[in-house]
Symmetry: C2
Subunit: 211 residues, 2 copies
């Protein structure tokens, strides 16, 4: 039966394992569409329009906001970032899910949008801050100041954990991935995501009538 596509929002502080989970989920089910954000910041070397981001001018981006074409958006360090609505609705109409790798601000906006009832939100927590620190340091040789800034951002992000439907403590990536799969499989089965059931029950009633 064709079902209604859902919006899977994955949020976490940087370093908690969200991107790994997102990548594994896409590999497990290639029908899932990853929501590519739009941004007004300039592309960095190697970045491609439509892959890392949709690169847009500020005028273009603001026109999209005015046209209600952004599911959510925010300004960060002078640049606009947002999730275009069109591709999400196209995926939903095909019964495909969209995966959002966004922060709590984006999550809040989408949950409070017209598509709010289609949202399943998952927050990924690190097993400890010491471990989060290790993972952040492992990535690159950043200054203590940069690390401290990231930790402050992490703390802010974590403070919104209770706004999510599900919260995973990622102390084992395999276990967390299995949990994420289970969540997605169950949420896809919810009655309100199975519009074909209405016709199916209509068929049962026709059978009753014809007895």
């Amino acid at each position: 039966m064709q079902r209604r596509g859902l919006l899977l929002i994955l949020s976490s502080p940087s370093g908690a394992g969200k991107s790994t989970l997102a990548r594994r989920l896409m590999g497990w089910d290639p029908t899932i569409r990853f929501s590519v954000s739009a941004t007004t910041r300039a592309p960095r070397p190697g970045e491609e329009d439509g892959r890392e981001y949709y690169f847009r001018s500020r005028a273009q981006f603001e026109a999209m906001i005015a046209d209600q074409q952004m599911l959510e958006h925010a300004e960060v360090f002078g640049n606009l970032y947002g999730s275009p609505r069109g591709p999400v609705e196209a995926a939903m109409a095909e019964g495909r899910d969209t995966l959002f790798d966004i922060d709590w601000q984006g999550g809040q906006q989408i949950r409070n949008s017209a598509l709010g009832r289609d949202v399943v939100s998952v927050f990924v927590l690190p097993p400890s801050i010491a471990e989060l620190d290790r993972r952040l340091r492992g990535r690159a040789q950043d200054s203590e100041e940069v690390i401290a800034g990231r930790m402050a951002k992490s703390r802010d992000e974590i403070s919104h954990w209770a706004e999510y439907d599900y919260v995973l403590v990622n102390d084992d990536i395999d276990r967390s991935f299995k949990q994420l799969q289970t969540i997605l499989e169950a949420e896809r089965m919810r009655r309100d995501r199975q519009p074909a059931l209405t016709d199916f029950v209509r068929g049962l009633n026709r059978e009753f009538e014809q007895r």
Copy 2:
């Protein structure tokens, strides 16, 4: 982490496979508590108090209703049937789930009770009425009148499918059981069923403070 026990309500017309699913679920996870109903009807040969039913006098049953000790109750053919609240709350406090094999009327009452937010409800549909008919006839040598009565009751039960969180079409019992497991595993993970998360995040914040 200790979690909050949930109330799993399983409803379906007789013959759709609900009892088989319930039995398999209890075998899979013995911590699940099956809600034994109370009734004022007389025990039949072989029935044991506390196993098939809690057998109570009408006066006892009515006193339980007056004491708010019944999560739901209904009168059927002159006998009272209901789900006692005490054992459910005891199970919840231990982080154990309770499985209810009840009809739509009981489901409605529990969903609308103070424990409503702890309910996960699943309706099991037969793949067709012809198949339901076959399964009902396969059970015993009943008169056409008895079968017709059961079919009318089935139709009434099915008419309430849209009140449930999940609806399974049971055309393959193994597949349906797997779906039921997935639903239960995911629902157990919901944030609002994980009260220990609050303390866990408090611990993360303490770590942030101590840096």
